[in-house]
């Protein structure tokens, strides 16, 4: 009996001991253990397969070139990545241990800071005229900075602001339409809105494009000295807004009754509104100066020609622009 008990006890000790020893031998994990979840695993497999299927569709779509190609191609790639995203999120939330780790925020090391400062200070202990050296070094740095930047001047005609005043308009230059055909005064109708360019000049130049409109000559109230600028009530203005350089492309009759009962030229960018009847003065909007007016004349064959240059610089203003550039 006692022998049996001894056997049992020793067997239990052995078993327990072996178990403990076995557990001790297992290496310690870094990452927390997690329960296997075969169904979630299957879901991930399924989502990945869907992603692969849509990705595999891309070369097929490319080869078949179906109608609405861009839409189909984008949808296929988009869905493939959407399923990939879903697979990663399911894997991340179901198959991976949900650990919360702690970590210390970094602390500053005053010893290292002191050492760095010391290295710098001790390295410069041989200098006796630190202030002088500092100023000279700053001067050299500044001079070198200017030296390095000097080649940048070649990028453009920096100092030639003169050219901002230039326009291709001269007395006698004919007005032509988009197709290069001369514009006959008789063809310009009231309430019509025409774009004109200088004959034989670069259309792209900021000073080139004009708006041409016709008003009843009795409605005109042009500034003094411009009495003969609008033959038959036909007026020409630079098409480039003096606010921000967009093209004036709206002609409104009227724009907004209480404020602007008259026809007005409007820029669609920031709604600067100009009054053609008074020589392009600003009715509304952010523009700070009138639309430049071009004096016109009608030649013997009835076509419109410039009678001179604009009354002021065209296009957006710049610092120091002269309001009335002599023509």
């Amino acid at each position: 009996m006692s022998r049996l008990r001894d056997w049992l006890v020793s067997a239990a000790v052995l078993l327990a001991g072996r178990g403990r020893a076995h557990r001790r031998r297992e290496p310690e994990r870094i990452v927390a253990p997690t329960e296997p979840r075969p169904r979630s695993e299957l879901a991930v497999v399924f989502l990945l397969l869907l992603s692969a299927a849509f990705a595999a569709g891309v070369p097929i779509i490319y080869a078949l070139d179906p109608p609405r190609f861009t839409q189909v191609l984008g949808a296929s790639l988009g869905l493939s990545l959407a399923f990939l995203s879903a697979a990663l999120i399911v894997a991340g939330s179901r198959l991976i241990p949900d650990e919360q780790l702690e970590e210390d925020y970094p602390e500053e090391s005053s010893r290292e800071q002191a050492a760095v400062a010391e290295i710098v200070e001790e390295s410069s202990s041989g200098f006796t005229r630190k202030k002088l050296l500092g100023s000279v070094a700053a001067l050299t740095g500044g001079a070198l900075g200017v030296a390095f930047l000097t080649p940048a001047v070649s990028l453009g005609p920096v100092f030639n602001t003169r050219q901002l005043y230039d326009t291709p308009w001269r007395r006698g230059r004919r007005l032509v339409d988009e197709n290069g055909k001369p514009i006959a005064a008789g063809d310009v109708e009231t309430k019509g809105f025409y774009t004109a360019y200088p004959e034989g000049a670069d259309r792209e130049e900021l000073g080139s494009p004009l708006v041409v409109v016709r008003l009843d000559p009795r409605e005109l109230a042009l500034p003094a000295g411009r009495e003969d600028w609008a033959p038959e009530g036909i007026l020409a203005f630079s098409k480039i807004c003096t606010h921000a350089g967009c093209a004036i492309s709206l002609y409104r009759v009227p724009t907004f009754e209480p404020v602007q009962p008259e026809p007005a030229l409007v820029c669609p960018c920031h709604y600067s509104t100009f009054d053609p009847a008074t020589g392009g003065s600003v009715l509304f909007g952010p523009a700070g100066r009138p639309l430049p007016q071009l004096p016109l004349l009608v030649d013997e064959s009835g076509d419109l020609r410039a009678a001179g240059n604009f009354d002021q610089p065209i296009g957006p203003s710049w610092w120091g622009v002269r309001l009335r550039e002599p023509t």
């Binding site: 870094i30 070139d65 984008g74 949808a75 988009g78 990545l81 959407a82 990939l84 995203s85 879903a86 697979a87 990663l88 991340g92 939330s93 949900d98 650990e99 919360q100 780790l101 702690e102 210390d104 925020y105 970094p106 001047v153 453009g156 005609p157 920096v158 030639n160 602001t161 050219q163 901002l164 774009t195 259309r203 792209e204 900021l206 080139s208 494009p209 098409k239 606010h243 921000a244 350089g245 967009c246 093209a247 004036i248 404020v259 669609p268 960018c269 920031h270 909007g285 952010p286 523009a287 700070g288 100066r289 296009g315 957006p316 203003s317 710049w318 610092w319 120091g320 622009v321 009335r324």
Partner: protein, 453 residues
């Protein structure tokens, strides 16, 4: 297998200790921490799609005549740049998808940055020791706006030309140097010389992306070196950060987000048309169109330009400050200047120079929250005014009356927002105190009555 791979790498690079740390880097859990990642992944998509586009785009101002499959442009004279964009959109297989993705990604990129900035601001995450990270983020935002502007300017369609004309006017308007600077940038008077386009292109595809990429690297390095901030919570202190490690917890989430962002951009690029340049036609200085709107992230600037009263001081026959300077230069400088100065301003006002690893909830700093919301409402109102012409078209409200109303509202509403936000924050704070008090009292009462039962 894994062990062998790690050994091979470590023996040749010595990176195992670093990798071990990186794999167990702790990410505090909060959805709003992912906004910056969305921006990062959009940037990756931008670079990838942008590289593809460079293989087809030709930044040339050479005049050509269109003879392609798109009938309405048949025989139209245009720049080679615009022609190549139309070609890559309509003739290159997958070209349109990639171009639209690129454009959408730019929009999503800036949205993500702005939302990320708002999160950082309203939680006080910019405070010591993370001011540098914040300044770098703001710099990237500014560069991204410029990058986006250059991107849609390159296409040389009608809208991009109008945008460039406005940019030229804004450059001209800078006091003292405006005229010279504009001539330098455009190599002459607008629309500039043939060199302007390649220069703009190099800036868009090389200088700015590299600058943004380098700043992203610095930004991430600083985030990792100072560690993430964290919201208040049990066991969370200024000294210890608690959260999910990169591996295994954070990596699949983050990669899932990356795939999600890419998926969204493919779907948008494929299914939602954006900037159909062939409809706009080529640009000429004498052309413009009504109802033009820039990409959303420049809407606040067009609003600023439109909202400005016609102030353009001149004397003795000379103009001094051209009007676009106010809306196009002063306004963005004030906005970015305020954002850059905010950490300093707040430090001065509160006298708080301590380290802050624990985030504020917006109510915890009522004045910051009130100021922030007032500031945001100010910018958003100007942004809304940028689309006042659309409001006129769709709702029949007079543009002129809207302008006069906005002149008042942009100054009044932010003040109201400030006052209301302050009250709400203080109210929430008080309620929290009362609730805590009540809970404590109830707990005490329970403790007092417990022995009786």
């Amino acid at each position: 297998m894994i062990r062998k791979a790690v050994r091979v790498v470590d023996q040749r690079t010595g990176t195992a200790p670093f990798l071990r740390k990186a794999l167990r880097y702790v990410f505090p859990d909060h959805w709003s921490f992912l906004l910056g990642e969305v921006a990062l992944y959009s940037f990756i998509v931008l670079v990838a799609t942008g590289i593809y586009l460079t293989f087809f785009f030709d930044p040339s101002t050479e005049r050509v005549v269109y003879h392609g499959p798109y009938e309405p442009l048949q025989g139209v004279e245009m720049s080679r740049a615009y022609q190549s964009v139309v070609q890559l959109s309509l003739q290159v297989k997958a070209g349109l998808l990639i171009r639209q993705m690129h454009h959408w990604a730019a929009n999503v990129f800036v949205v993500a940055i702005v939302l990320h900035l708002l999160r950082i601001f309203f939680t006080g995450a910019f405070r010591k020791p993370r001011e540098l990270t914040y300044y770098i983020g703001l710099t990237m935002l500014a560069l991204s706006l410029l990058e986006g502007y250059l991107g849609y300017s390159l296409a040389d369609d009608l809208l991009s030309g109008m945008g460039l004309a406005i940019g030229y006017a804004v450059a001209l308007s800078i006091p003292f140097v405006g005229g010279n600077l504009a001539l330098l940038i455009w190599d002459g008077e607008f629309p500039g010389s043939q060199d302007f386009w390649p220069r703009m292109y190099a800036t868009h595809v090389l200088f700015l992306p590299v600058a943004i990429g380098v700043l992203i690297g610095l930004h991430l390095f600083l985030v990792a070196s100072r560690h993430h901030t964290q919201f208040q919570g049990p066991r969370k202190t200024q000294r210890k950060v608690i959260g999910t490690p990169t591996v295994p917890g954070q990596a699949p989430r983050s990669l899932g987000l990356m795939a999600g962002v890419a998926s969204l951009l493919f779907l948008l690029g494929g299914l939602v048309q954006i900037n159909p340049v062939w409809l706009w036609g080529p640009y000429e200085t004498g052309l413009s169109t009504n109802g033009a709107q820039p990409d959303w992230y420049l809407g606040w600037l067009i609003g600023g330009l439109r909202l400005m009263p016609p102030w353009e001081p001149h004397a003795w026959g000379y103009t001094f400050v051209p009007n676009p300077f106010w809306g196009g230069v002063t306004f963005p400088l004030v906005v970015f200047g305020t954002l850059f100065a905010w950490p300093t301003i707040e430090r001065r006002l509160t006298g708080d120079r301590g380290f802050h690893n624990i985030l504020d909830r917006p109510r915890d700093a009522p004045h910051r929250t009130a100021f922030g919301l007032a500031f945001v409402s100010w910018v958003v109102l100007v942004f809304f005014f940028g689309s006042a012409d659309r409001v006129t078209v769709f709702f029949g409200l007079s543009y002129v009356n809207q302008l006069y109303a906005y002149w008042v509202v942009v100054w009044v509403l932010p003040v109201l927002v400030y006052a209301v936000t302050l009250r709400v924050c203080r109210g929430v704070q008080r309620k929290e105190l009362v609730d805590a008090e009540q809970e404590r009292a109830e707990a005490e009462a329970r403790a007092a009555t417990a022995p009786e039962i």
